[in-house]
């Protein structure tokens, strides 16, 4: 029993070491390595027609803003189709969409009231309703800049690109301590992690919003799985498994509203963890065998998928340490190494990636905002719990053969 616990602790430490090394290399590479320019920097050509899809459920507070932002876009009006989807709203969202439909010919809303609710189902319906090959997706609380549509579409001039993702920047960063932390976390995740993965030709992720994909490809891959909570990760992996690439546009900054309350953040993280682990169970083995990916890309893909298993692993290692401690059988070295890598994971790790966040802060010129870094410790334990609950959800989904109920992150706009 004791030996098994010690071996388990060592296994967890090994996983931590792989992630620590990965985050360190990615961070240093982003800080001083040559950057891969985005397509807009290289090419310009005739612009294609594009459909912009906006899933909405009770979005009366933000609907005007996103529709106006898209209507003010620098993209030629005759090439732009805007497809807002009213998904079972019981507020004034439908009325707002009807008003825009009457006033603007390019706004073509979809109304869903009698079918399964949820973003994947809504996107599937939009895929059949949209008339253009390039489909961009924005969540209703996003505010794309005037050049965002044009810049995102540029990536599809590359015939190998199946999806593109822009950078997400919180618009309410100053609202609470949580939003400050999420601002730092997003900065580290996009400015350093996604950009380095794009530069190194690894596997940047399509995040399901502030990005887009080829309609024919999404349809050929079966659309969005309504039984998966992380439809974006699911599509990302299926694209890579079928030989497509995902481009990342660090310069295309889209503003979003991040959760302002810890409860909302808990449910968001739990949903992400649930979906990520569902995708891991579905596609993990295929990803490891993919003939389209190089070994380093397979490794990066697996590290991306396994990341939501790490917090439960850490908690299990801590439980093993506790048992060994109570029995007086604690080996000093594993204890120290675990403690060390707990810190290291926090330093290099995913949910509170201190080195990445610090470097992103320097690159973004965030200066004093980096002073919030130590507060990540409190978010760290919180994240462990939320992610572990998400894993439990994913396992129970399989055991009970239940479908996830889509739970939207609440809006906080005043």
């Amino acid at each position: 029993m004791d030996l098994a616990l010690k071996v388990w602790v060592c296994v967890v430490i090994s996983v931590m070491m792989v992630y620590a090394l990965r985050h360190w290399l990615i961070s240093i590479r982003r800080l001083v390595g040559s950057q891969r320019p985005y397509y807009q920097d290289l090419l310009d050509s005739d612009l294609p027609s594009v459909s912009v899809v906006i899933p909405m459920h009770n979005e009366e507070a933000v609907a005007d803003q996103i529709l106006n932002a898209l209507l003010d876009s620098a993209y030629p009006k005759h090439l732009l189709e805007i497809v807002p989807i009213d998904d079972h709203s019981d507020d004034h969202t439908a009325e707002i969409l009807r008003r825009y439909e009457a006033e603007h010919s390019q706004v073509k809303p979809l109304f869903r009231n009698d079918r399964v609710r949820g973003k994947p189902a809504a996107l599937n319906e939009a895929l059949t309703a949209a008339t253009n090959e390039i489909v961009l997706v924005f969540d209703a609380d996003y505010r794309p800049g005037p050049d965002a549509v044009r810049a995102l579409v540029m990536a599809f001039q590359d015939p190998e690109v199946g999806a593109v993702m822009g950078r997400v920047v919180p618009s309410n960063a100053g609202a609470t301590l949580l939003t400050r932390l999420l601002d730092l976390e997003r900065s580290g995740g996009y400015q350093v992690d996604q950009q380095a993965r794009y530069t190194l030709d690894l596997v940047p992720q399509f995040g399901g919003t502030a990005g887009g994909f080829r309609r024919s490809v999404a349809l050929s891959l079966g659309g969005f799985g309504p039984r998966v909570s992380a439809d974006d990760t699911d599509l990302t992996v299926r694209l890579y498994l079928n030989g497509w690439k995902v481009a990342y546009a660090n310069g295309v900054e889209c503003y979003e509203e991040v959760p302002e309350t810890w409860d909302a953040r808990f449910h968001q993280l739990r949903r992400w963890s649930r979906g990520h682990n569902q995708v891991l169970l579905r596609h993990g083995a295929s990803l490891l065998r993919s003939r389209y990916l190089r070994p380093i890309q397979r490794l990066d893909g697996m590290l991306m998928l396994v990341v939501y298993l790490v917090p439960p692993l850490l908690l299990s290692a801590l439980a093993a340490e506790l048992v060994l401690f109570l029995q007086g059988d604690l080996l000093l070295l594993p204890t120290v190494i675990l403690a060390f890598f707990l810190v290291t994971y926090s330093e290099f790790g995913n949910f509170a990636p201190f080195l990445q966040v610090g470097i992103a802060g320097v690159l973004d010129g965030m200066a004093e905002r980096v002073l919030f870094l130590p507060f990540f410790f409190f978010a760290y334990l919180f994240n462990q719990l939320a992610v572990t609950c998400g894993l439990a959800d994913a396992v129970l989904d399989i055991v009970w053969r239940r479908d996830p109920i889509w739970r939207k992150t609440p809006r906080f706009r005043r």
Binding site: L31, V32, W262, F325, F340, E347, G358, L363, L373, F382
Partner: protein
């Protein structure tokens, strides 16, 4: 003859740049081999000092902690012990016997805190999670003592474990900080201040925490030991080290964005 040297634009040139490096794609210049060598030399000097003066540091920490520990019901003595050839000074003390009622009290207290962490919604969630986690550790420990009668460590064992752990952290900390900061354009003085400052603060805080740890365990018994060793200790270490590192990053960020002279940033 002067060789041709490629330099960045001057201050005057910068004002005429049409496209300054946008934050999305800008990066710093690569670290020079000279900087890497200097940084590694600094690390070696610090590690050497810590290793060769380990006896002295341990004696200093042991004596200072002994002086800081308030009186306990049993005497606290300084015991010499060998660890990888280093003479480590360990505070030795006897843990108070934990009665059945005391164990039940810890169990009930832990359960109460856990219940409050779950139920009291007015407290911010991260604080509730932290308190709940600490309460779980206390409850498990109390339950173990209740069932098996004792924890596997006595006062001397746990004290020795603490000081050995602290010493290994002092040695690993400079390596971690060097790895994190090697590509950042700190001056050698700033690098040295960061490394020595963090290790110095860690040693000072470790001895204060050591004294508190011995006093607390010596006063209330062994049940909260796992909570202190596995949660509170690493949390405190983490908070002030990241705090110091973030202050250094803020200074650096200001300097880079307000730098005089050649353009700091490189594009693609």
């Amino acid at each position: 003859m002067k060789s041709a040297v490629t330099r960045g634009p001057s201050v005057r040139d910068r004002s005429t740049l049409l496209f300054p490096a946008h934050r999305s794609y800008r990066r710093l210049r690569r670290v020079t081999p000279r900087t890497i060598v200097q940084t590694l030399a600094l690390l070696l000097v610090l590690e050497g000092a810590l290793l060769f003066r380990a006896d002295w540091i341990s004696a200093l920490v042991g004596r200072a902690a002994l002086a800081l520990v308030p009186p306990l019901h049993t005497p606290v003595t300084l015991v010499s012990n060998s660890y990888f050839g280093v003479r480590v000074q360990v505070l030795s003390f006897v843990l108070p016997a934990s009665t059945y009622w005391v164990q039940l009290l810890w169990l009930a207290g832990g359960a109460l805190v856990l219940g409050a962490a779950v139920a009291v919604k007015k407290i911010p969630v991260p604080v509730r999670v932290f308190a709940g986690f600490a309460a779980v550790l206390v409850c498990v420990s109390a339950y173990y003592v209740l069932v098996f009668g004792h924890i596997g460590f006595d006062g001397y064992d746990v004290s020795r474990l603490y000081i050995r752990t602290a010493m290994v952290v002092w040695l690993l900390l400079p390596i971690l900080l060097t790895a994190s900061s090697v590509a950042l354009p700190f001056t050698m003085f700033e690098r040295a201040a960061l490394l020595v400052g963090c290790v110095g603060v860690d040693i000072a805080f470790s001895l204060v925490r050591y004294a508190f740890f011995v006093w607390f365990i010596g006063s209330v018994g062994p049940i909260p030991m796992p909570m202190l060793y596995l949660l509170l200790g690493p949390a405190l270490d983490f908070l002030y080290i990241i705090g110091i590192a973030s202050v250094a990053l803020v200074r650096l960020s200001y300097r880079l964005d307000h730098a005089e002279g050649p353009e700091t940033w490189t594009w693609t």
